[in-house]
Symmetry: C2
Subunit: 331 residues, 2 copies
DNA sequence: TTGAAAGCGCTACCAT
DNA sequence: ATGGTAGCGCTTTCAA
């Protein structure tokens, strides 16, 4: 049996309610007593009984994260960051990789105080889930029943194009996933198209390469398609971290120098961008910020009862590294 | 406030201790009463209060999984399988991606009944962690203080070589990570070497390609090194799922047909092997089995107090798919 | 076969 | 500033 407050009370020669107060740093306990009790508690290796605490407080101080698709580096990074961020608060996080419904079941059983869900397109009957829930994904046009943390993908593409234009680029290609099932990819792609249009830049068909996936190799092989139809663009926008990694490799293997021959800017903003063969200039909401916002928001959701359930669109940031330069003709 | 057994008791017109018994399917309650209570409970949407249950039972029925390095497809698959497997038991799983010490702290706080740890080389002061703990990795030569679930890598390599020999191969290459920091990779590599020796097969230096990593691209570029020093081997043993995926691609891009020109057998035994460009014949402990064994063992560890703390070495299985055939000369 | 009551470890309120 | 005590929801004797 592990140490309880009664044990401590016995040793300290006070009542166990005093111990409770002292341990919770109540102002109602004299500093001396408090210190003494704290010392004894530490010495006896006291650990509060979580079950007992929550039985009375009705709070678990736990948030559950549902992550049904274990994959992508970017998401893995985000999970880690969220985990870091939560550790800074008074909450703890538990993770579930089970299918959504099962995860919700589990979390309800554990009575977590709030839930973070990574998923694009869920239709939960929200009424049956009174636990505060936050989604990371793409906000629906018609509004979601729960808050959605979202990145402003259009803005990101605008900023990327703007940046390239200022460097002198006009022939810009987009390499990314355009398959219609993933709303987030669609937003990026459309954002690119819009930005080009707004700047009166022509878009050649061959400069729109659909990778059909988000993997490294998808980017790698997209380069071959690009190469098949000269002239090459002077700049490429890569749709994701992995894709851009593949693009770099493909380019290098064809002796195309970055950024001398061609510039590349990637979507996603994670520190790993700096570790690629060529440190990639990138655009996107920094993961740290994403993590902060997500954690911040669930906790708000938990602690303030009547909160505006509308989500947030986060502003992207362009991080300059080593993959962009003026186009060759201007050199 | 959600429904409690007292609420049910009130409606059912019995005492709440009877309700408790009925809900726990005690033989001390008449079937009629039990059925009635069950029905009412369901109707009222009763969910047992987890905190209350564990406060009295001293058991959480939770096992914690510590997974400090989110990456590799194979591990992700294993995590998912373990999660599936645990769902079949009366236990639940929570996952932590935090650093080991922090994860242990969290799990101790939640008072999980057992812990699964993915990690090669940990030195825990086990005495301070009285929670049953199981590791998945490589057993230390000098014995670990806690059980280790381990795959028999030497055996795997032996079986792979044996299989290739029976098909008629003699010139066999190994492509894998040989960097000395990862014990599991070392075991595979040494296993290969031993198996070749035991069968009196020569090993050319050029046929031992150190990928220096476990990624897709590491395998892909290893092929180029192999190609630089003809003659080619007639068969390749790939060190991991990702590496082998890269090998296939590299070979294909050089118009080398699998399995006509060259055979390839990969380490790791996950279903995804069948989805590669060429369904890969592979050797390794099937993930499902690995997951079963791991889950099985922690639960045993939890429920049976004095258990043999020595781990298990699991036997690999060779799964034939479409990537192996007799060498070209014999065709 | 059912009911009453103790108690798990803790917080919070009321009394001292 | 400290102590006494009710009660959170449940399991588990013990009694009826």
């Amino acid at each position: 049996m592990s140490t309880t407050i009664k044990d401590i009370a016995l040793v300290a020669g006070v009542s166990y309610s005093t111990v409770s107060k002292a341990l919770n740093n109540s102002p109602l306990v004299k500093k001396d007593t408090k210190d003494k009790i704290m010392a004894i508690a530490k010495e006896m290796g006291y650990e509060p009984n979580f079950a007992a605490q929550r039985l009375v407080s009705k709070k678990t101080k736990m948030v559950g994260l549902i992550w049904p698709t274990i994959e992508r580096v970017v998401l893995a990074t985000l999970v880690t960051k969220i985990s870091d961020e939560i550790r800074r608060t008074s909450y703890s996080m538990i993770l579930s990789v089970d299918p959504i419904e099962i995860s919700l079941e589990t979390f309800r059983k554990f009575q977590v105080d709030g839930i973070i869900l990574f998923e694009e397109d869920v239709d939960l009957k929200i009424d049956t889930h009174p636990i505060p829930l936050l989604t990371y994904g793409v906000s629906k046009k018609d509004g979601s029943p729960y808050p959605v943390i979202d990145a402003n993908h259009e803005q990101a593409m605008h900023d990327a194009i703007q940046y390239l234009i200022e460097l002198g680029h006009r022939r810009i290609a987009y390499i990314g996933d355009m398959s219609p099932k993933d709303p987030m990819q669609i937003e990026k792609y459309n954002g690119f198209l819009q930005a080009m249009k707004k700047n009166n830049l022509p878009v050649e068909n061959h400069h729109l390469v659909n990778t059909g996936g988000l993997d490294w190799y998808d980017g790698y092989s997209a380069v071959k398609k690009l190469l098949a139809h000269p002239p090459l663009p002077t700049a490429i926008v890569g749709g994701s971290y992995d894709i851009s990694g593949g693009i770099i490799r493909g380019l290098k293997e064809n002796q195309i120098d970055i950024p001398t021959d061609i510039s590349i800017i990637s979507y996603d903003n994670i520190p790993q961008m700096a570790n690629l063969e060529i440190p990639l200039t990138s655009i996107g909401v920094p993961v740290d910020q994403l993590a902060k916002e997500i954690v911040h928001t669930v906790i708000q959701l938990i602690e303030e009862q009547n909160l505006d359930p509308s989500g947030k669109k986060l502003q992207p940031i362009l991080t300059e590294r080593a993959s962009c330069a003026p186009p060759p003709s201007l050199n």
